[in-house]
């Protein structure tokens, strides 16, 4: 349960998203790129973190990654592992991955159950919704990247928007909001 500064109270039932294309940089030069770099993050009450192993033999000062799945992967047929369609992050009625899924309740939602569902995705222009961020790294022994859920929820007007289920301009805008919430602790 999150009590937001604007008086909104939000509870989250599902929060899942894909992190992909992880790269490390030193002085703006790429020094490492993860192979088959697709990770599904799924938060539940017992586990709110997931860890990644990156090689320490390099010096690096920046990490770059995508929120979501690139368009080439989206048109390349069925995949396994974290990309398996049984993970609940693939649309059935229309091809394509859901990059970011959040569902829950907010007292500002106008429907009687107070529920919201945002399934953000879309691999075709003009609604290609994958987002990229580059974050500076100072201490490379332990990199803590957090998703600032309070910031994300604070930027949404739940009274106007409680439902996104397909690629659209709204899905793209929400994806742009979400990527800004990744920060180095």
């Amino acid at each position: 349960m999150y009590h937001l500064p604007n008086g909104n109270t939000v509870s989250i039932e599902i929060l899942k998203f894909y992190i992909s294309g992880i790269e490390l940089f030193e002085n703006s030069k790429i020094i490492w790129r993860e192979k088959e770099s697709f990770h599904l993050y799924s938060a539940d009450s017992s586990n709110k973190t997931f860890s990644l192993t990156v090689p320490t033999k390099f010096n690096f000062d920046k990490i770059k990654f995508n929120l979501g799945i690139d368009s080439l992967t989206n048109v390349s047929g069925v995949m396994g592992g974290d990309l398996d369609p049984t993970k609940g992050m693939y649309w059935a009625w229309q091809s394509g991955y859901i990059n970011f899924k959040i569902e829950g309740k907010s007292n500002l939602v106008s429907n009687p159950k107070k529920e919201f569902q945002f399934h953000l995705g879309g691999y075709l222009q003009p609604h290609y919704s994958i987002q990229t961020t580059t974050l500076p790294i100072t201490d490379k022994s332990k990199i803590d990247i957090v998703f600032d859920i309070v910031q994300f929820l604070s930027e949404i007007d739940f009274s106007k928007q409680n439902h996104i289920m397909s690629p659209s301009i709204k899905a793209l805008e929400f994806s742009q909001l979400a990527i800004k919430c990744f920060k180095v602790k």
């Binding site: 047929g77 069925v78 398996d84 369609p85 049984t86 693939y90 059935a92 091809s95 075709l124």
Partner: protein, 334 residues
């Protein structure tokens, strides 16, 4: 004595092993669109896919299989149903397409909603008016059956079914459903000849129809507004629903005409029962709209004799060997 009998039974068993079709590219056909590197063909995967295709386990109440709406005797479509049926006698909003030569198809569904054969089955599995289930439920049911544990082990070296392997094996069976042995093909290979009527129909076809229904697949894999009026009950704008671009309004996938004798009724909503109605549409009832292609701006002019000749040609696209090919059929599955 006993031992001899056991050996005899073993031989009988092997004699009944299912004959599995294998993928091939017919002569002079383009290269397939499907990426086989990501899903290398094997006999065991094709067999597994075939068994899944015919198994109603894919639907919520175990009543509907892929074959329910895609039966071989009608070139893998739902004959005589304008709109296809699903669980609890529910009726969908579109006419199920005939399945063949799918390795050459770029997108799937009348509106192109599906971008790869591998993920096609997810749509009917989860559509409430079709199979009403979802891939997780299906995988759970599959993994509970010993039969499938053995089949998955043989196909993938792992007895546990995953979404990826299940869908890949269904693709493999679908890829082998190839129709390339109609009279038309035999004439092209110089093994047979057209009758004068078929020959004339072929000429008229090339002049009036082949821009969209391009040989040898009899589709150019594109989408078009073919001038049929909007059914205001269904309000189906085709590709527009997916792309949300006004230039795609009323555009539907151009279907193959192979085996058209068996794939009635015609159009995305099955509104025409007979080929003569289809031809009459193109000559006399094209509805103008912004996305109507230039080929249909002026009505196609055909005399009634010419229409009969075109239909005679279209019937040369019937591939009886395909319709009756035992390797695609339900028999000897278990």
């Amino acid at each position: 004595m006993k031992r001899v009998i056991i050996i005899f039974i073993a031989f009988l068993f092997f004699a009944f092993v299912v004959e599995v079709p294998i993928f091939f590219t017919p002569k002079k056909w383009p290269k397939p669109t499907y990426n086989f590197l990501k899903n290398p063909i094997s006999k065991e995967k094709i067999l597994l896919g075939k068994i899944l295709f015919y198994d109603p386990i894919l639907s919520k109440d175990n009543t509907i299989s892929c074959a329910s709406c895609h039966s071989q005797y009608s070139a893998f479509t739902h004959i005589d149903h304008a709109l296809s049926h699903g669980i609890h006698d529910s009726i969908g909003t579109r006419n199920s397409p005939a399945l063949m030569n799918l390795a050459w198809q770029k997108t799937f569904m009348w509106d192109g909603a599906i971008n790869n054969l591998d993920v096609q089955a997810l749509a009917p599995i989860s559509h409430p008016s079709e199979m009403g289930s979802n891939i997780n439920e299906v995988i759970k049911k599959i993994n509970a059956l010993k039969k499938y544990r053995q089949l998955f082990k043989r196909a993938f070296g792992d007895s546990v079914a995953t979404g990826e392997n299940t869908l890949k094996s269904i693709s493999q069976f679908l890829l082998t459903i190839i129709s390339a042995n109609a009279k038309y093909d035999k004439v092209m290979r110089k093994e047979q000849t057209f009758t004068p009527q078929e020959e004339n129909g072929y000429k008229l076809f090339k002049k009036n129809c082949s821009v969209c229904h391009t040989e040898p697949l009899f589709t150019n894999n594109e989408f078009a507004n073919n001038g049929i009026s909007l059914d205001t009950k269904l309000n189906d704008y085709g590709k527009y629903k997916i792309s949300k671009q006004s230039t795609d309004s009323l555009k539907f996938k151009i279907p193959t005409l192979r085996n058209i004798e068996f794939t009635f009724p015609y159009m995305h909503d099955g509104r025409f029962k007979k080929l003569s109605e289809v031809l009459n549409h193109y000559t006399s009832s094209i509805k103008a709209s912004k996305t109507l292609p230039k080929e249909l701006q002026k009505p196609i002019v055909l005399s009634s004799n010419e229409k009969v000749d075109i239909i005679a040609f279209l019937l040369t696209l019937t591939d009886k060997e395909f319709i009756f090919d035992k390797r695609y059929s339900y028999q000897n599955l278990n």
